[in-house]
Amino acid sequence: MASDHSNPPKNFREFLQHERSYMIVFGTLLVFTGITVAIAQVDLEHDYNMFHGANMTLGLIIATFKATLVMLFFMHLISEKQLIYLVMGFTFFFFTGLMGLTVWAMLDYPKLTTFFM
C-alpha cells in the first residue's frame, strides 16, 4: 500500500517511483502470463517424461501465484484488517470444501458401479 502521502510526488516519474511495488507486481504478472502460455505449448507429461497431469499442475500453480500477487498487493490483503482475513479465511475453507468434497464424492463409488460414458 502506498504508505506515505504527506509529501506527494511532484511528477509522474516520481509517482511511479513511489508506487514501484505495483509496477513490480505488474511486470511479474505479465511475465508469468507469458510463461503460462509458453509452458502450455509443450507436453510436459509425454515429451519431458514428467508426472501425469504435469501441465495442469504447473499451470494452476502459476495461476495461483499470480492470483496471490493480485490479492496481496493490488487488493492490499498484505496489510488488511483482522476481520477481512477472518471472512476470507472462512470463505476459502468453504470453497475448498465445496470443490474437494464434490470431487471426492464423484470419485468414490461402491463396488460394481459402472458408468456408460
Partner: protein, 271 residues
C-alpha cells in the same frame, strides 16, 4: 422382546436376510430417541409447573449452577459416536463394500433393471451368463437401451415383460440399477433395499430373499406425472420355479441378429 420392539415400529414385512440388521438399527435408535425425548420432556414439564409465575413470583438470577447439562451433552455425543463408529459406518460398509456378492459367482443372480418413465425393465444374462454389450453411443430411436445388436452375448439375454422381476429364494441377488431418462428410485422395502436409478450410471444393490412371495417395488424419486403409479412386482420363488421361469422367457435365437438389427450400421463407426 426384540420382536415386540420391532412390531411396534410398524415396519413392513421383512423378507431379506440382511434386513433384520436394518430393522434392529432403526428400532433401537428410535427407542433411544424416545428415551431422550421423554427424559428432556419430563424435565421440561416439571420446570414449567415448578417455576410458573404464580408459584414462584421471584426469578432466581443464577438459575442452574451445576454442570449436569455438560455431562448430558457429552453423553449424547458419546452415544452418537458409538452408533456411528460401532454400527452405522461398518454396517453401511457391508452394504456397499465388504459383503457385496461376487458378480461372477454362478450362485449369484445378476439382474439389470432399467427404469423408464413410468415402468421398470429387467434383463437377465441368459444361458451364457454374460450380458450384452451396452454403449450409450448406440442409443437410438430403435435402440433405446443401447445394447449392441452385434454382440452375441446379448442375444440370449432374457427380457421378461415390463414391471416383472423374479428372484430365486435364498440365493444372493444383485440388481444393477440405471435409468433411461430421469432419476427414479428403486425402493424395495420388504428387502430393505433402496437406491436411486440415475441415467448414465449403473449402481448395484443386493439382497438374499428369505421368504417367497410377491413384493411391491416403489418408485421413490419424483419422475414426472406417472411417478405415483410406477410400480413393479418382485416375485421370489424357489430356485426351481425361478429356473423354469427363466427358461420360459429365454428368447429363441435365430441365426441373424435379433431385434434392433436395423441399427447395426451405426455401430462400427464408433468402435
Amino acid at each position: 422382546m426384540r420382536d415386540f420392539l420391532i412390531d411396534t415400529m410398524g415396519l413392513p414385512t421383512l423378507a431379506s436376510e440382511h434386513g433384520k440388521n436394518v430393522d434392529y438399527f432403526i428400532v433401537y435408535l428410535h427407542w433411544l430417541m424416545l428415551a431422550l425425548f421423554v427424559g428432556w420432556g419430563s424435565y421440561f414439564v416439571w420446570t414449567l409447573i415448578k417455576f410458573r409465575a404464580g408459584r414462584n413470583p421471584k426469578a432466581n438470577y443464577h438459575g442452574v449452577q451445576n454442570h449436569a447439562s455438560t455431562w448430558l451433552e457429552l453423553a449424547v455425543a458419546a452415544i452418537e459416536i458409538v452408533l456411528l463408529l460401532g454400527f452405522a459406518i461398518p454396517l453401511w460398509a457391508k452394504v456397499v463394500e465388504t459383503q457385496v456378492p461376487d458378480e461372477n459367482d454362478p450362485n449369484v443372480t445378476v439382474i439389470r433393471v432399467t427404469a423408464e418413465q413410468f415402468l421398470w425393465n429387467s434383463r437377465y444374462a441368459g444361458a451364457d451368463g454374460v450380458f450384452g454389450k451396452r454403449d450409450y453411443k448406440l442409443v437410438g430411436q430403435d435402440n433405446k437401451f443401447g445394447y449392441d445388436p452385434a454382440d452375441t452375448h446379448g442375444r440370449d439375454d432374457i427380457v421378461p415383460p415390463q414391471n416383472t422381476i423374479h428372484a430365486p429364494l435364498g440365493k444372493p441377488v444383485i440388481i444393477k440399477l440405471t435409468s433411461l431418462d430421469v432419476i427414479h428410485g428403486f425402493a424395495l422395502h420388504s428387502m430393505r433395499v433402496q437406491q436411486d436409478c440415475i441415467p448414465g450410471m449403473s449402481v448395484p444393490v443386493h439382497f438374499t430373499a428369505k421368504q417367497p412371495g410377491t413384493y411391491a417395488i416403489t418408485c421413490a424419486q419424483l419422475c414426472g406425472s406417472g411417478h405415483y403409479r410406477m410400480r413393479a412386482n418382485l416375485t421370489v420363488t424357489s430356485e426351481e420355479n425361478f429356473n423354469n421361469w427363466i427358461l420360459e422367457n429365454t428368447p429363441i435365437i435365430e441365426d441373424a441378429p435379433a431385434a434392433g438389427g436395423a441399427a447395426a450400421p451405426a455401430a462400427d463407426a464408433f468402435e
